[in-house]
């Protein structure tokens, strides 16, 4: 179930199907809708500049700017991100090789400029926060749709004036809950392009509820993207923290050298 597979787009695998498929998408079951959400045209490569704004409950903001590269090799999706700002984390790089075969470990390396050293990191815990934000690594990657049961609870509920399906998802096993950190979720999928634009996500840890919203949706190089993705974490109906991810610019299917996705490149910077 890729709640936030829209967010996954920031790493180059934008999730949306194009209009011709959407045109005949009127009588799908919940699972069929999710299959179409998951079966995305992501582009073979993507390069994007992004801004991540972290806002605490006292409205203090921290701003990170990042550059992402991604390339789909079929059996493996390679992604690398470089921090451009702020100054204390500038040149930090994160590289991951995520394999189509789920039995293979995700390969992840982190380059810390303070040490000027690349370290491999274990990447199995996908429920931890992505760069201190309200998004988790599970949100970024988009968990597997077969890990969840789906129910269509409302056939028509508009979001920002666009008709949507409303679905609920429940993890099939406790292992999925541990892996994603989430229990049940409710989310809105646009009928015109199968994009998830809104979600209410129940988090197991701390009984928090997260609210996701995708905005400024547009077509870039034939692929739908959301320019703004926001996630608000709440507890007892009070905002704890929120994050806003802005895709400043993005290009798809441009040629990217394979060497960018090698460990040694992390030391050279973007």
């Amino acid at each position: 179930m890729s709640h936030l597979s829209v967010l996954a787009g920031i790493f180059g695998f934008f999730t949306l199907l194009t209009a011709p498929i959407a045109a005949k998408a009127e009588s799908f079951t919940a699972y069929e809708i999710m299959q179409r959400v998951d079966a995305r045209d992501t582009g073979k490569t993507a390069v994007s500049h992004n801004t991540l704004i972290l806002i605490d409950k006292r409205d203090r903001q921290r701003v990170r700017t990042l550059k992402f590269f991604s390339k789909d090799y079929g059996e493996v999706e390679k992604r690398i991100s470089f921090f451009l700002k702020p100054a204390d984390v500038r040149d930090t790089a994160y590289l991951s090789h995520e394999w189509e075969d789920e039995s293979r470990e995700i390969d992840s390396w982190l380059y810390l400029p303070a040490l000027q050293k690349v370290n491999r990191i274990a990447a199995a815990d996908r429920s931890s926060a992505f760069m201190g934000s309200d998004f988790t690594y599970s949100d970024i990657d988009g968990p597997k749709i077969d890990d969840f049961e789906y129910t269509l609870i409302n056939d028509s509920d508009p979001v920002d004036g666009v008709d949507c399906w409303v679905l609920e998802s429940t993890p099939k096993t406790e292992a999925v809950v541990r892996k994603t950190g989430y229990t049940h979720s409710r989310f809105w999928v646009r009928k015109d392009n199968f994009m998830q634009v809104k979600s209410i996500i129940n988090v197991k840890k701390g009984k928090r509820i997260k609210f996701f919203m995708a905005r400024d949706i547009e077509l870039v190089d034939g692929i739908w993207i959301a320019r703004k993705l926001q996630m608000v974490t709440t507890r007892n109906n009070k905002r704890q923290h929120s994050s806003l991810f802005i895709v400043d610019d993005v290009t798809f299917n441009q040629e990217i050298e394979d060497s960018i996705f090698e460990v040694q490149f992390m030391q050279r910077g973007s």
Binding site: L84, P86, Q116, I121, S259, Q264
Partner: protein, 447 residues
């Protein structure tokens, strides 16, 4: 009947509550107001300057034992200010350059048991100064003053033998100051699935020790009046170290080999005089080692092992100069666990075996140590806590450090560190500094 009468009212109230909740929930979907959403850097600047200005206050928690320090009581240990500047130029995709330096001012110093604020000590240190060139996206060259950090061990330099360590204040250094930059030409060549790296250094120097008479001076027990230490250059100025590595699914593996000057200090010659002159230098040696890691689920297993030839070793009789040399096998195995949300916990076991061991050596044939670390990032990584315990090999003492960093904003960080030294054996390297425990407070401004 009464219940029936009030049922519609109750339902209406419930609906109102539910509706209110829904409205409240909808608020969390509202557009997040931000101070600046248009400040994105859409491309790295061709020329950029970044830096950090920090103000540190260290407070000694106990009275150091003479002659380990000029300070003879608990109190302010140092008050310093540091400016780090970094200039980066990237004229095009295949060429870039970086220069960084730090300047620091020590506002207070101890002299004969008195804290003196009038004698300010200024220091300027060049850090990185290198140029990068990528040749056809295949060969990458870096020339200049740089750090080349290899290996997997944290507690011992096993295959990480290019850059000497800064040992002026053991356990107190910030990450960027642990290694000392060396003048080097570095080249990286990919071929199939292997990466070959070569580093050629010139006058790389050795471990940076504390000045004579200062805290953590390794020769503190030798009175200044009885011996004078003189640094002499090594016989060969160059070092050549190479590495071949492979990254495979779930792990990395590297082989390192090199001909180099050992970073550890060695007394190479005694010139009888009044006072005697002891020449300190670096001894030539060789290294062949393997390092690697394996990730499995939330676990990461790391290892580092190397044979190091011709290592200079302390003698039990300090007057025996030059020091003896022996071959050593060094190893480290570590487990890292990241399965608890926001935590990273690791434990590393270190060991050294000295070959051709004889009783006159100050070190045991088998030495063991450990490096344990717990890192916790909370409040959306606004508060970072790290706890490290480093048991030095060979019963040479233990350093414990608890660090907290609070990121008030992107630009302003507040830090506090508690560093504790422990040594029970009189021969331990830290024995004279076992009362050097301190608390440090610092404020850093990044720009």
């Amino acid at each position: 009947m009464c219940t029936a009468l009030y049922r519609p009212v109750w339902r209406a109230a419930l609906l109102l509550i539910l509706h209110s909740t829904a409205v409240l929930a909808d608020d969390f979907f509202a557009d997040i107001p931000t101070e600046d959403q248009s400040s994105a850097v859409t491309e790295r600047q061709r020329l950029s300057v970044t830096g950090e200005l920090s103000q540190d206050l260290s407070y000694g928690l106990a009275a150091p034992l003479p002659p380990a320090s000029h300070r003879d009581q608990a109190g302010i240990d140092s008050l310093s200010q540091r400016l780090r500047l970094q200039l980066t130029a990237k004229p095009n995709d295949w060429l870039s350059a970086r220069m960084s330096a730090t300047t620091s001012v020590e506002w207070a110093s101890w002299d004969n048991g008195e804290l003196d604020f009038s004698d300010n000590e200024t220091d300027l240190e060049l850090k990185d100064a290198y140029a990068d060139a990528a040749l056809g996206n295949k060969v990458w060259l870096r020339a200049g003053n740089q750090i080349i950090a290899w290996g997997e061990a944290k507690g011992l330099a096993i295959t990480d033998v290019i850059n000497p360590r800064d040992s002026t204040k053991p356990g107190q250094a910030e990450l960027e100051d642990i290694r000392v930059q060396v003048p080097a030409l570095y080249a990286s060549f990919p071929s199939e699935d292997l990466f070959t790296e070569l580093a050629f250094t010139w006058d790389a120097g050795g471990i940076k020790y504390a000045a004579r008479g200062e805290a953590f001076d390794p020769f503190i027990t030798v009175p200044k009046t009885s011996a004078q230490f003189v640094d002499v250059p090594p016989e060969k100025h160059w070092e050549l170290i190479g590495r071949v590595s492979v990254n495979f699914n779930g792990g990395d593996l590297s082989i390192v080999a090199g001909d180099l000057n050992w970073d550890g200090i060695s007394a190479v010659k005694l010139i009888p005089d009044s006072p005697s002159r002891i020449e300190l230098g670096q001894v030539r040696g060789q290294v062949l080692g393997f390092s690697g890691n394996r990730a499995q689920g939330n676990w990461l297993i790391r290892f580092d092992v190397a044979q190091q030839w011709n290592k200079p070793l302390w003698s039990a009789d300090v007057t025996q100069i030059p020091w003896d040399t022996r071959d050593q096998t060094l190893y480290a195995i570590a487990a890292e666990y990241s399965g608890i949300s926001d935590w990273l916990i690791s434990f590393e076991l270190d060991g050294i075996q000295t070959h051709q061991h004889t009783p006159e050596l100050a070190v045991e044939k088998w030495q063991s140590g450990y490096f344990a670390r717990a890192h916790w990032a909370t409040l959306n990584e606004r508060l970072l806590t790290q706890f490290v315990v480093n048991g030095l090999p060979g019963d040479n003492g233990r350093i414990t450090r608890l660090s907290l960093q609070y990121q008030w904003s992107d630009a302003l960080h507040l830090n506090t560190d508690l560093v504790l030294y422990d040594a029970r054996e009189t021969e331990a390297l830290l024995y004279n500094y076992r009362n050097q425990d301190l608390m440090r407070l610092s404020v850093s401004y990044f720009f």
